[in-house]
């Protein structure tokens, strides 16, 4: 019974006043309910793009007309049925009714589809879910966020019965290039959908091997139910989907804002709304708890096999590769040992055969039965996994993705220079590691300038480098998998040659290889790669220069606040008639960073680079600010 009061409380607290409708139309609640955003000069435009979201033809741009029309329609209704405005927009109805003194007496339980949606979710708690970065798919390289609505109060035990509320772009066609272009210009329609959470778990944990972080939203029951009502309302429209800003994360914030009018969330983003960033914002606003991780099949396998003896691991792997030999292999073991080996081999089997397992392949299931039957016969019951969350991995505590750097340097032959760099997003291998990508780098939009004073007293300000995108994915080898390491970078850079002082050229760089991690907390990372580089510039014979050669990268994490990395590369280049350029290029870069606080880091770089048998040595000391 108390639930009724709990629910009515926030509604009653909107005190009914005599204020004019126009005043109501400019209230935060109304603005948020209709997803209006202030125009640059004056007036409002709603971000909702489906016409059916508005009751007045000018509703998209006119909150006042929309409100008047809405009140008119709600007042004149005597009864309701499915599809009526009241049924489509129950939260607008409830809110206006409470603002206007509860004078409307419509029976919303006649809205059968709304009622069925409401009861299907039966939401009591809400969490925001972050599915970790997935560099193999550009559409979700930054991760993804969605809502989970839980119907039980129990702490996280019954996630499998929950619902996910997902906002995503409807993808039309399969051409990845057009998909990307449309994502940038708002060519996709973004819609809210609801789907049982276990489908989400299958998609992320079992198929793509991505960990899921869930954060309980600190909301009262009334707010959660308002959120359900509002999601229902949003089910009647679509938004133009913009990959960088009006994306999944942005619109989840917009839903939260509707039920918390006192919070400003979406307005904090003018250009990028990156999933991890929105989680960070929610944490700063005190809207979420510390979070909990659901391990992917892969993470679980790695954790379960941690601490097993080499012999047991070996048996577990053999069983997972050849389940028919299960009984032979566990023959000499006691029950406890066999149970552990079988548990790991089950997980490994699902990891190795993920696609077939999820598509319900009969042969695969028959083979797997060898392990399952053996495990069922073994009397040991596996203890609860417990909570394996390491709070240091939480994306909510990751660093801010935007960064500025100012450094002072000295280069042999050229003298002093001052360097300025801006990065829009997101993380590089030496940034603060807490909660961010592991052994990987993802940077979008980075530009650096160099101000030089040459020996002959001439000054110049140059663009040193412009990076559109730079990805380094260096996952380490382990007992179960041998993932590929790769890098990709596109941008423009100074050719950096002895007789060409200001020659920026477009470049494409890609490399492939493998990496290993060593040490207790994987402090040591080393990658060995084959690197290919193509640079476009008219100074080259064919207007381009192709280079190929080995590259190695080593990073050592002394602590989470002090990291050091060294990269060495050698390129054989196609020769050039102009003789401006040599046909080889050797570079060694060493960089150390000390992260003094959440927003300030110090950086020291030493580099050496050979051009035309002249070695250029550079030293730089700088400060980085995350903001």
């Amino acid at each position: 019974m108390y639930l009724i009061f709990l629910l009515l409380f926030p509604l009653i607290s909107f005190s009914a006043t005599d204020s004019s409708h126009d005043k109501l139309a400019s209230s935060t609640k109304w603005i948020r309910l209709l997803h209006y955003k202030k125009n640059l000069i004056s007036g409002y435009t709603s971000e909702a793009d489906g016409k059916e979201f508005f009751l007045h033809p000018d509703g998209k741009t006119d909150p006042v007309k929309e409100l008047r029309r809405t009140i008119e329609i709600f007042s004149s209704a005597t009864t309701v049925k499915d599809g009526d405005p009241v049924c489509k927009f129950p939260l607008r109805y409830k809110w206006l009714n409470s603002e206007l003194g509860m004078k409307w007496k419509l029976d919303l339980s006649l809205c059968t589809t709304y009622v069925s949606f409401f009861s299907k979710l039966a939401a009591r708690r809400a969490s925001i879910i972050f599915s970790s970065y997935y560099l193999s798919n550009p559409n979700s390289a930054f991760g993804h966020t969605f809502l989970r609505l839980s119907r039980y109060d129990d702490k996280n035990e019954t996630e499998m019965l929950d619902y996910g509320i997902n906002y995503s772009a409807e993808s039309i066609g399969t051409n990845p290039f057009m998909y990307a272009v449309n994502g940038l210009i708002g060519g996709h329609k973004g819609r809210f959908t609801s789907i049982p959470y276990y489908y989400k778990v299958r998609e992320y944990s079992n198929s793509e091997f991505r960990d899921l972080w869930s954060y309980n939203l600190k909301m009262d029951m009334g707010q959660i139910l308002q959120m359900v009502d509002h999601v229902w309302e949003l089910g009647h429209t679509y938004f133009d989907y913009f990959y960088f800003k009006e994306n999944c994360s942005y619109h989840l914030l917009s839903v939260i804002e509707v039920v918390m009018p006192e919070k400003r969330l979406t307005d904090t983003y003018s250009f990028f709304a990156i999933p991890a960033d929105t989680i960070r914002l929610l944490r700063q606003e005190g809207l979420i708890d510390e979070g909990r991780k659901r391990e992917s099949t892969y993470s679980k396998l790695i954790r379960m096999s941690d601490g097993m003896t080499g012999k047991d691991l070996d048996h577990a792997k053999r069983i997972s590769k050849k389940p028919a030999e299960t009984n032979n292999l566990i023959a000499g073991m006691n029950d406890k040992e066999a149970a552990q080996v079988l548990d790991v081999s089950l997980e490994a089997f699902d990891y190795f055969n993920a696609a077939k397992i999820l598509s319900d392949d009969l042969k695969t299931k028959e083979i797997k039965n060898n392990i399952l039957f053996a495990r069922a016969k073994n009397p040991i019951i596996t203890a609860d996994d417990g909570n394996n969350t390491n709070p240091n991995d939480s994306p909510a505590i990751s660093h801010s993705p935007t960064r500025a750097e100012l450094s002072q340097g000295y280069e042999s032959h050229n003298g002093q220079f001052t360097r300025l760099e801006f990065r829009a997003s997101h993380h590089d291998l030496l940034d603060p590691p807490k909660g961010s990508l592991k052994d990987a780098q993802l940077e979008i939009g980075k530009i650096s300038f160099r101000h030089k004073e040459f020996a002959y007293n001439k000054q110049s300000l140059q663009i040193e480098k412009l990076t559109l995108i730079s990805i380094k994915n260096l996952p380490g080898q382990n007992f179960w998998a041998s993932p590929q390491a790769w890098e990709l970078e596109v941008g423009a850079k100074q050719l950096d040659q002895i007789r060409c002082m200001d020659c920026p050229g477009t470049f494409f760089m890609g490399s492939l290889g493998n990496s290993i991690e060593l040490g207790k907390h994987k402090k040591f990372l080393m990658a060995v790669l084959i690197n290919a580089d193509m640079t476009l510039h008219n100074a080259f014979e064919e207007n381009f220069l192709l280079g190929l050669g080995p590259k190695t990268y080593i990073r050592y994490k002394f602590t989470d606040r002090f990291l050091s990395g060294i990269e060495a590369s050698y390129l054989w280049n196609t020769t050039s008639k102009s003789h401006l350029f040599t046909n080889q290029d050797t570079r060694i870069n060493w960089e150390s960073r000390f992260h003094a606080s959440e927003s300030t880091s110090y950086v020291l770089k030493l580099a050496t680079h050979e051009s035309g048998s002249v070695w250029f040595n550079t030293a730089q000391l700088g400060i980085q600010l995350f903001y």
Binding site: M1, L3, I4, L7, L8, L11, P90, K94, L106, D107, L108, S109, L110, C111, T112, T113, V115, S116, F117, F118, S119, K120, L121, A122, R124, R151, Y152, E157, T158, E159, M160, L161, T193, S194, I195, P196, Y198, R202, M221, L225, W232, G235, L342, D343, L346, E347, D350, I357, L358, K365, E366, K368, N369, L372, F373, R375, A376, I380, I381, T382
Partner: protein, 154 residues
């Protein structure tokens, strides 16, 4: 116990009936029994809709996916749950413990998921009879285990 039998009987009736209607995808199953602590949402709904109290059975609408859905509780939900979680469920039952067992205990209204897990484990071979067993068969077999071992006090 009586209630449990009713639930299980209904489970058998509805799951097969709905399975026929929705095909093997196992989605969109739906038939509800509300009771015990689960009635909270009805009170809420009644309070917020000015309604006289919710109807007893509902269909599903929002969303375009055929999989968008089983009814909130019990009965038909068991089969949808089994269908969607078959892989994890087989692993968990073989191990005698795990998240899907806790979830299934909720669906069946079992208070002690530990005992339920134990019972399911010892009946593993009669639940997952063959690799080709359908979700309907598996659910049916689980229903039998639940009927005899699940200590329910709804």
């Amino acid at each position: 116990m009586k209630k449990l039998i009713v639930v299980v009987t209904l489970a058998l009736m509805t799951s097969s009936a709905f399975a026929a209607k929705y095909g093997s995808a196992g989605c969109g199953l739906g038939s509800l029994i509300f009771e015990g602590d689960q009635t909270w949402w009805k009170q809420v709904l009644a309070a917020t809709t000015n309604g006289t109290s919710g109807a007893q059975t509902f269909g599903i609408t929002l969303g375009t996916s055929n999989c968008d859905s089983p009814a909130p509780l019990k009965v038909g939900q068991a089969e949808a749950f089994v269908e969607a979680n078959k892989v994890a469920l087989a692993n968990d039952i073989a191990r005698g413990n795990g998240e899907t067992i806790v979830g299934l205990s909720k669906v069946y209204g079992c208070n002690n998921s530990g005992e339920f897990g134990q019972a399911l484990k010892s009946n593993y071979s009669s639940i997952f009879t063959t690799a080709s067993a359908s979700s309907t068969e598996i659910t049916h077999n689980i229903n039998n285990v639940a009927a005899s071992s699940c200590n329910t006090q709804i």
